[in-house]
């Protein structure tokens, strides 16, 4: 029983993080603390009346960890559209000076 427990725990300790080393970083359950940093894109919303506002991304997260999966931000424009019916377009800039994408709310 104890031998099985030790082998099982060692598998969790060694095999899981080893396999995760070969995938994209950062990933959970792999002890990859501070091994990668996810930068939040810049977002601007445009309302039906034509006004625009810069979004503080942190207002919409409980805890925006530095190692969040970057694909999380793919869902962010839809979240902003759903929160505020007056928003018609969400503009997104992934990197400073980079291209600006426009996401039309449906």
């Amino acid at each position: 029983m104890r031998a099985t427990l030790v082998v099982g725990f060692l598998t969790l300790q060694v095999v899981v993080p080893t396999l995760l080393l070969f995938g994209a970083r950062p990933v959970r359950f792999g002890w990859q603390m501070f091994a990668a940093h996810t930068r939040a894109p810049a977002f601007v919303v445009e309302r039906a009346d034509g006004s625009r506002a810069v979004i503080d991304v942190d207002d919409y997260f409980a805890m925006r960890r530095g190692d969040l999966d970057p694909t999380v931000f793919d869902r962010f424009p839809a979240h902003l559209c759903a929160l505020e019916p007056s928003v018609v377009t969400v503009y997104e800039q992934r990197v400073p000076q980079g291209a600006i994408e426009a996401h039309a709310c449906r």
């Binding site: 970083r25 959970r28 969040l68």
Partner: protein, 273 residues
Amino acid sequence: MERLLTGDVDARPLAVLRVVIGVTAFARALVAYGILERLLRPTTIRLLYVSWLPQLGPSAIPWLVALWAAAALLFACGWWTRTAGVVLAAAILYVLLLDEQTYSNHLYLLVLIVLLLVLANAGAALGVDARGDTRPRAEAYAVWLLRTQVSATYAFAALAKLNSVYLSGATLAGYMSPTLLAALPEATRLPFVLACSWGTIAVELGLAVTLWSARWRRVAVAAGVALHVGMVALLPPGARVQLAIFAIEMVALYLVFFVPLASCGRVDDLAEG
């Protein structure tokens, strides 16, 4: 190996670790309350990690945190230690899997340590359950697993950093306190960030190995304390409480390397001399 699996060791160092981990888990419950309260605001984006996990409503959050905090205090006091440990681990695991924003590596570590302390019989000393026990003993194999957990945590943290972006200094610069970097003369910023980046990998790899060596253990402990104090000091204030909790967890775990495993035996053997 058989001696390790069936042997036992002095339970008192494990009990000290149990008290520290219990108090740390209690403090972390208070941090979790703030995160969970923000998570359930209508404006917060939900990033479900395990889709089938039952979701709690806002009214249930104080109860969950109260359960976590009470179990942590009971665990620290060594009162119903095994039950409290299992409940504590379950409450933390639930929060860990609730959402991508509630996950953290030190919470995951906390779950594993609490479960290993339960297996180790860490309630055998310095607690309510231990009253009257004059020769408290703990399970040697669980102490060994606690050691391997420390090494695995440091080793994989270092190995994951062996990538071109991290080695360029860009990753750590992204995490570092902007006010701290701005306070440095411009010419020294990159060398400082590179020294911290490469130094962290070296120290983490070194700790994974040298904590096992009686000769190097004290140096390793000093290096480990310096690493964790440095992390708390260099990284942004918003992350400091959680980093301090991680630092306390890791440094307290160094205790298990000072428990002699080579001489572990059964109580019966020891009684016979």
